[in-house]
């Protein structure tokens, strides 16, 4: 298990972050292209706060809109991937510290993961 050094862990974390960010960018870009090709000359008004419709607030609704290839749905799905990227990093770190037999940091990382899970799923009943 000596292969599990901090350096190797850092390299994998770097690649993980890169992949998540890239995937999210592709999704957001695709959504933006769909949206702009249809409504580029529309005049939006963001001075007044209305809040997003329920379909773009929850995981299931966003996934449905994205699968239907709606521009806003695709963007929102890409934003979800973006939010999930640092969460995935923390989740990976749990296993990496486990492989390093560093139990202190397994616990530390699990606590961070629990707070993130509460934020993401606690607010989405």
């Amino acid at each position: 298990m000596s292969a599990w050094t901090d350096q190797r862990m850092e390299r994998i974390i770097g690649r993980l972050l890169q992949t998540g960010v890239l995937l999210s960018t592709v999704l957001v870009l695709a959504g933006a292209v769909v949206e702009l090709s249809g409504h580029a000359s529309q005049v939006p008004d963001y001075r007044v706060f209305r809040g997003e419709p329920p379909a773009l607030r929850g995981f299931a609704g966003i996934a449905r809109q994205a699968l239907a290839l709606h521009g806003r749905g695709l963007i929102q799905f890409g934003l979800l991937v973006l939010i999930a990227t640092p969460v995935a990093r923390v989740a990976f770190s749990v296993f990496a510290f486990l492989a390093e037999h560093d139990l202190t940091y397994v616990v530390v990382t699990l606590v961070v993961l629990a707070v993130l899970a509460f934020s993401l799923f606690g607010a989405h009943p």
Binding site: Q7, G20, A32, I83, A84, V108, A123
Partner: protein
């Protein structure tokens, strides 16, 4: 203004915001929010939601480069993330009950604080000698980063005080949609005595996790608008990657002064417009 024109303007502004954010470790949010709210008159709640996402993007994008360079301290980052994520949850909860004008004033005051703190020189050089801090030893926080003449080793001190400051930084991040990079850097730089290169990159590393903790709450509340967030994220990303490339070649003192001047201007405008009910 048409959607296409708005998209282009927001994209260009976010490109610059991401660049400056990555260079300083402050995060792009401190520029994105005033840009959207003051210049493009976007409602502050949408601006904060989009900014929060740009903060995740810039942090993750630049951190990908930093971690491979071996400059950030993964253990310090991971341990302090307990404080920042808990703080972020609290901040996001408070944000729902505060008027946007008040949020704008708080935003401006925090920016002024960040500018002041980032200009002030640190009390002394980071310690490489002396006995190890007992908490720091137990948590194996001491680290090193690659310097021009081999690895530079350093000791980490005053862990409880740094932890407390991090909780405050997380709270401000959740309330204002910023990375709170300045406060994170101060906590690690001045209090815990990490060298600036290590503290700014570790701060950047933590910012994404902190922002993700409040992003879930913002999504559920409907503060994340796809058409505002898209150009912000798409602009902040390449800007941040560019900033991460330039960082090792820049002198940190000059960096802090230039960015501080921009921040003070934005901060005063946020306070004025927030206090007079224009935001």
């Amino acid at each position: 203004m048409t959607l296409a024109a708005m998209f282009l303007l927001v994209w260009l502004g976010s490109l610059l915001a991401g660049f400056l954010g990555a260079l300083t470790g402050l995060g792009g949010g401190v520029v994105v929010v005033p840009l959207l709210a003051l210049l493009l008159r976007v409602d502050l709640r949408y601006a904060i939601g989009a900014s929060l996402l740009s903060v995740i993007a810039t942090s993750s994008g630049a951190a990908a480069a930093y971690v491979r360079d071996g400059m950030s301290n993964v253990r310090v980052g991971m341990f302090l993330e307990i404080a920042t994520t808990l703080g972020a949850l609290g901040g996001a909860a408070i944000a729902a009950h505060v008027a946007t004008g008040a949020v704008a004033v708080i935003f401006g005051l925090v920016l002024l604080g960040a500018a002041t703190l980032s200009v002030r020189r640190t009390a002394g050089p980071p310690g490489t000698d002396g006995p190890a801090d007992p908490i720091s030893r137990a948590l194996r926080l001491d680290g090193s980063y690659p310097g021009s003449r081999g690895p530079v080793h350093y000791r980490v001190r005053h862990v409880p005080a740094g932890f407390g400051l991090m909780a405050v930084a997380g709270g401000l991040s959740g309330l204002l949609g910023i990375g709170s990079g300045a406060l994170k850097v101060i906590a690690m730089d001045d209090v815990m005595r990490l060298p600036f290169k290590a503290s700014s990159t570790t701060s950047n590393f933590m910012i994404g996790v902190t922002a993700a903790a409040s992003a879930g709450v913002y999504l559920a509340r409907g503060y994340l608008d796809p058409l505002i967030a898209a150009p912000v994220v798409l602009g902040a990303l390449p800007g941040a990657l560019l900033g991460a490339r330039v960082l090792p070649r820049l002198r940190s003192r000059v960096l802090r002064l230039v960015f501080a001047a921009v921040i003070v201007t934005l901060a005063l405008e946020m306070i004025y417009q927030g206090a007079t009910g224009r935001l």
